[in-house]
């Protein structure tokens, strides 16, 4: 009887704890701040291909709440920008064109990688092809 009650109640408690954990760590997740107190937003490159023109186009960068996990230096991967370079009025933050992404082609892989952005408080990461 006790065992049956336990086997019924324990999964319910476990599910409740799991849902609460997701809610606590996701819904109330604060945006990271820079040293100067500016909010940092992470964007991942989601363009159709890795041409210089597409990598330099701010519209091809999508806001992401998780770290995309970039390593290497052959093609564009992610960038971090602060308040002045991000439009936060919509449902999801959007990169403004004043971020001025500069990219160059990696000859070995024929893919473009980021070399600079206008945001002095921001950063960027490339990845392997």
């Amino acid at each position: 009887m006790r065992q049956r009650r336990l086997s019924r109640l324990l999964p319910v408690f476990a599910i409740a704890i799991g849902v609460a954990l997701v809610a606590v760590t996701s819904a109330f997740k604060e945006q990271p701040k820079s040293r100067g107190g500016l909010t940092i937003y992470t964007f991942a490159y989601t363009g159709p291909d890795y041409t210089v023109a597409n990598v330099e186009n701010a519209a091809n960068w999508t806001y992401t709440s998780m770290s995309p996990g970039c390593s290497g230096n052959q093609k564009a991967c992610s960038l971090q920008a602060t308040d002045d370079y991000v439009n936060t009025s919509g449902s999801s933050p959007v990169l403004k064109s004043n971020i001025d992404i500069q990219a160059v082609l990696t000859p070995a892989t024929n893919t473009a990688r980021v070399t600079s952005i206008a945001d002095d408080n921001g950063s960027f990461s490339n990845q392997l092809n």
Binding site: Q3, L6, S7, L10, P11, V12, F13, A14, I15, I17, G18, V19, L21, V22, T25, S26, A27, A44, T46, T62, T64, S65, M66, S67, P68, G69, C70, S71, G72, C77, Q127, L128
Partner: protein
């Protein structure tokens, strides 16, 4: 503690793990897809995995929640965790030219080695539970035959 109770207790952390893993993927689905695209996986597998992974994790939760399907849930948990552990392990020994990132909520903040150890622990838990349910079944069958 009885074996049956122990198995029930084993299923609880696995349910929490799968709810958390699936929940954080679905909550940030677009970010999860972006992360998946950066994994060293064939392009065709990305759209399939983007819905199959959270679905498999939720199926594991359902199976682990009922005594009748607990054994299947433990087996599915073991297979999923074993696969993830091998994948992270191969990344750690640089089999891939890209290092796979550890995805999903708090796990995303873990380093590769911590994630690997975390996965091994849960793989052992799932395997132990699965083996014990097998032994438990045999115990119940013998017990039943003895009484008849």
């Amino acid at each position: 503690m009885k074996k049956q109770q122990f198995i029930t207790f084993i299923s609880a952390p696995l349910i929490i793990l799968w709810i958390y893993a699936a929940g954080s993927k679905l909550w940030f689905y677009e970010s999860f897809k972006i992360q998946l695209e950066r994994q060293p996986l064939p392009g065709w597998s990305i759209p399939v995995l983007s819905w199959m992974l959270p679905l498999a994790e939720l199926i594991a939760v359902v199976l682990l929640s009922f005594q009748k399907t607990l054994r299947k849930g433990l087996l599915l948990s073991f297979l999923l965790l074993f696969t993830f552990t091998v994948y992270v392990g191969l990344g750690l020994v640089h089999v891939f030219n890209k290092v796979p990132c550890s995805c999903g909520g708090i796990l995303g903040k873990m380093g590769g080695e911590s994630h690997f150890i975390f996965n091994i622990c849960f793989t052992i838990v799932a395997f132990t539970g699965w083996r014990l349910t097998k032994a438990n079944d045999e115990f119940f069958i013998k017990h039943k035959l003895h009484n008849t």
